[in-house]
């Protein structure tokens, strides 16, 4: 029984959601003055229509007759129906609301449908109007118990509201859907819809709509057993409604509050709130859905506290309650009262009616429809989320793409730079190799030149001389002696050249021994005293073969040059090692043939190149025609050059 009463309340109170709220008297007066002024000034029909429509709407919840009067005045402006004008359609919509408030659901539904049929043909579509009308049609169908049609129109309402993008309309539609859920005892979903409705109402700054939404939230909490939360929300709602002089809205929250106390089994609270309700009911139209809702609640509560006669009286005095309460619930309440009063015959008759009604498979179909609606809403929410996520993904992709392009460009530039550097280095290397090859070839050519010169100037001349001498010799013995002597000289000369060219082998002798041997032989061949003074501290084993080879060749070149060009009788060569550096001093007592250009000779260039490869350097000191040379070589450092 408790559930029945509460559902009735919700139905009645939900019906008001699509209606405009009560307005203050000041607004009505102002509108009346504006109409008078407009009529005097013969203002346009559109403006007058708007004013009459507004005034009718203002009276909608206060005085039905007045509302109807002004709406008819507005319609009278049109000798022929003008469904192509928005103002006219707004008037018809308000008229439909009037029928609704009068409880004439069929008439209201048809009028709303007329508006809907023409609203879609307007030059400029008014999706907000279409949404509100579709939602109203849904409510009418719900009132008429045609829940499938109600669901269909709610669906359409949602689509239009989304297109219109007006949060107040979205709030209203969510609210109506929530009420439908509530009627079908799907309180969790009803709560969700109520909360959404309240959220959109807040966005739209629609205080009245927020109050409606909160009353649905409170009722849902109540059904979910959260009585404290429910009572808190509903009491707050009542206070707020009274503060803004909206007794109708206050009553809208008062009915679910009563049901909550009933469920909570707080009879004292029920009696207190009932008294409050009985005071407030006088301030609202007697036949308004809210008033009818209160009467049904009142009847239900009197039945609950055992005052069956009082309850029965209320039900029979207000037959319009049947327009607000489902058939089965109304008759169940009647049956309980008759049962309480001992009139079992009557009670049985009413219960029989209820049973026949409830046998209908209609409810099952509606539940399926509701599930579909719920699913649609969820899908819609998910679609929104997916759209948001997709947008985020697109943004992320853009950022990623931008970063990829940026990094790719940087990497590409780096690669290009590296490629250029490597190419440059390759070119440099090639150039160096080319220079080295040229130097090598030049060196070979110089050596060939020198060898050719030595052979030509030495051996060839000796042989030529020998031939001339032999031709002049008459005595055979003298010829023999001379020939042998000459051949020995030539052999010695060739041997000297060969020895000069022979590459030293460091496996069996060190640099010191080689130099000593070489200088000794040169002294022997040239007759010039070559004084070789190696410092005893030099560690010959530490001198690498590579450096040793170059030093050997450098000193060969140096001594060879001195012997050839300086006409020296004495050459002093001193070797010393200090701080990892080999220092060589070459002094002689001769005089250079061309003292001004000693550095231009091939010999010095060879010395320079050889020193370069082992990281050494040399210095020439000239004193008059005397030239001394000082050479320095790092023994343990990193040598340069190539080999």
């Amino acid at each position: 029984m408790k559930r029945t009463v509460f559902s009735l309340l919700i139905m009645l109170w939900g019906a008001t959601a699509c209606l405009h709220a009560q307005t203050e008297t000041g607004t009505i007066d102002s509108l009346k003055q504006q109409i008078q002024l407009a009529e005097k000034q013969q203002t346009s029909r559109e403006k007058l229509t708007e004013l009459y429509q507004s005034l009718g709407a203002e009276y909608e919840t206060l005085n039905h007759d007045s509302s109807y009067h002004y709406l008819q005045k507005g319609l009278a402006l049109y000798p022929q129906p003008a469904f192509h004008e928005e103002g006219y359609l707004q008037l018809v919509n308000s008229l439909a609301n009037y029928w609704f408030m009068e409880g004439k659901m069929e008439q209201a539904k048809e009028t709303f449908k007329t508006v809907a049929a023409h609203a879609c043909k307007l030059k400029e579509r008014q999706y907000d109007l279409e949404g509100v009308v579709e939602s109203s049609i849904g409510v009418c169908y719900r009132k008429l118990g045609m829940f499938d049609s109600a669901v269909y129109h709610y669906n359409r309402a949602i689509d239009f509201c989304k297109k219109a993008g007006k949060p107040e309309d979205v709030s209203s539609t969510y609210y109506n859907i929530g009420v439908l859920y509530h009627l079908h005892k799907r309180y969790e979903e009803a709560l969700t819809q109520g909360l959404l409705s309240a959220e959109y109402a807040r966005k739209a700054h629609d205080e009245l709509m927020e109050l409606y939404a909160n009353s649905l939230v409170g009722a849902s909490y109540s059904k979910l057993g959260k009585y404290e939360e429910a009572c808190h929300i509903l009491k707050t709602n009542i206070h707020k409604a009274l503060a803004i002089q909206q007794p109708l809205l206050a009553m809208g929250s008062l009915c679910p509050l009563l049901s909550t106390y009933q469920l909570w089994n707080k009879k004292d609270s029920v009696r207190t709130v009932l008294r409050k309700g009985e005071e407030l009911i006088r301030q609202i139209p007697r036949n308004s859905p809210t008033a009818l809702e209160f009467y049904s609640t009142q009847a239900s509560l009197y039945q609950w506290i055992g005052e069956y006669q009082k309850s029965l009286q209320i039900l029979t005095d207000n037959p319009l309650i049947q327009t607000q309460v489902p058939y089965d619930k109304f008759h169940t309440l009647l049956a309980r009262n008759y049962e309480g009063l001992g009139n079992y015959q009557k009670a049985f008759e009413h219960l029989q009616d209820v049973c026949v009604y409830q046998d209908s498979i209609f409810n099952g179909t509606i539940k399926d429809e509701l599930s579909e609606l719920n699913e649609k809403l969820r899908v819609s929410d998910k679609e929104l989320k997916i759209a948001r996520l997709e947008k985020e993904q697109v943004q992320e992709k853009e950022i990623r793409l931008r970063n990829t392009v940026y990094f790719s460009s940087v990497i590409f530039l780096l690669l290009v730079m590296i490629f250029i550097l490597l190419h440059k280095r390759k070119l440099q290397k090639k150039e160096t190799e080319l220079v080295a090859a040229q130097q090598y070839i030049e060196g070979l050519e110089n050596e060939r030149k020198r060898l050719a010169k030595d052979l030509h100037d030495g051996v060839c001349n000796d042989l030529l001389g020998a031939i001339l001498q032999i031709q002049q010799q008459t005595s055979s013995e003298a010829l023999k002696i001379f020939t042998l002597h000459t051949l020995e000289e030539i052999r010695s000369s060739v041997r000297a050249i060969s020895h000069e060219l022979m590459p030293p082998n460091f496996q069996f002798a060190n640099l010191n021994e080689m130099l000593a041997d070489y200088f000794s032989k040169m002294q022997e061949i040239s007759g010039v005293i070559i004084h070789y003074v190696p410092h005893p501290q030099i560690n010959w084993l530490h001198i690498s073969e590579y450096i040793g080879y170059e030093i050997y060749r450098i000193l060969q070149e140096t001594i060879g040059n001195v012997l050839k060009h300086a006409h020296a009788s004495f050459i002093h060569i001193q070797l010393n090692e200090q701080d990892g550096e080999l220092r060589i001093d070459v002094q002689h007592d001769g005089q250079w043939e061309q003292p001004t250009e000693p550095a231009k000779g091939i010999g010095l260039r060879t010395i320079h190149d050889r020193l370069k490869t082992i990281g050494g350097n040399y210095e020439l000191k000239t004193q008059g025609k005397q030239i001394s040379m000082h050479i320095q070589v790092h023994l343990h450092g990193k040598n340069h050059g190539f080999r």
Binding site: R491, R495, H499, M502, P504, N505, F506, Q507, F508, A509, E513, M514, A516, D517, S520, Q523, E524, G527, V528, I529, H531, V533, P534, H535, P536, S569, F570, H572, Q574, Q587
Partner: protein
């Protein structure tokens, strides 16, 4: 070897030299048979067939190194007697020869008598080194023996002494005082461990510090 005549193997890639040496050796009374080979492979073929009383080898052969050939002969005949006959007088080759298991070494440019003397000496069980090689090795030893190297000025003084100048003449030549020259002279005597000026010059020539025909 006394009483019996020796068989000799001559190895040299220069046919003229090979024929020349063969001619000289063949005339020696101590020699019975002279075999010749102009390459390492040919020599090894002969060695594998029979041992010889003496092997006269060149260190430079077209197909192998003379030192490798010495090693192979030594492996086959540990008591083999080997005489090296070479054109090379480079210090590194000479030093290597001194470390090889040979009984003698001569230069091809040496006197023919040196060759016959070397063969005779080795066949008698002795060792032989030609004068040139001896001289080089002596100089090497002398350098090692020389306690302290001579200074530039000491060399100048030594040269002047070798030319027969007296102290005053040397002092005039080098633009220094007589006392300074005397001091250098004493130092030279000490370093070369000489008793007088004649001994000083002889030792200097012997050690190769100054040549015989010093200018």
């Amino acid at each position: 070897m006394t009483g019996t005549k020796a068989n000799i193997l001559l190895v040299d890639d220069h046919s003229l030299i090979l024929q020349g040496i063969r001619h000289v050796i063949s005339q020696m009374s101590e020699i019975d048979k002279v075999c010749t080979a102009s390459s390492g492979a040919e020599a090894l073929s002969l060695i594998n067939r029979q041992p010889f009383n003496l092997y006269v080898l060149d260190v430079e052969l077209p197909d192998t190194n003379g030192f490798d050939l010495i090693e192979k002969i030594q492996q086959k005949y540990p008591d083999a007697r080997i005489l090296i006959n070479t054109m090379h007088e480079e210090i590194w080759i000479l030093k290597r020869l001194t470390k090889s298991p040979i009984h003698g070494a001569i230069l091809k440019s040496a006197d023919i008598h040196e060759l016959t003397l070397a063969i005779q000496t080795i066949l008698k069980g002795g060792n032989y080194l030609c004068k040139r090689f001896k001289s080089i090795l002596n100089r090497l030893q002398a350098e090692e023996q020389l306690k302290e190297q001579l200074t530039l000025r000491e060399m100048e003084v030594l040269q002047a002494i070798a030319k027969g100048y007296n102290t005053r003449e040397i002092a005039d030549l080098l633009h220094v005082s007589g006392n300074t020259i005397e001091s250098h002279r004493k130092s030279l005597m000490s370093k070369l461990e000489a008793k007088n000026a004649v001994d000083l010059v002889l030792k200097a020539i012997h050690l190769g510090i100054i040549p015989l025909d010093c200018k």
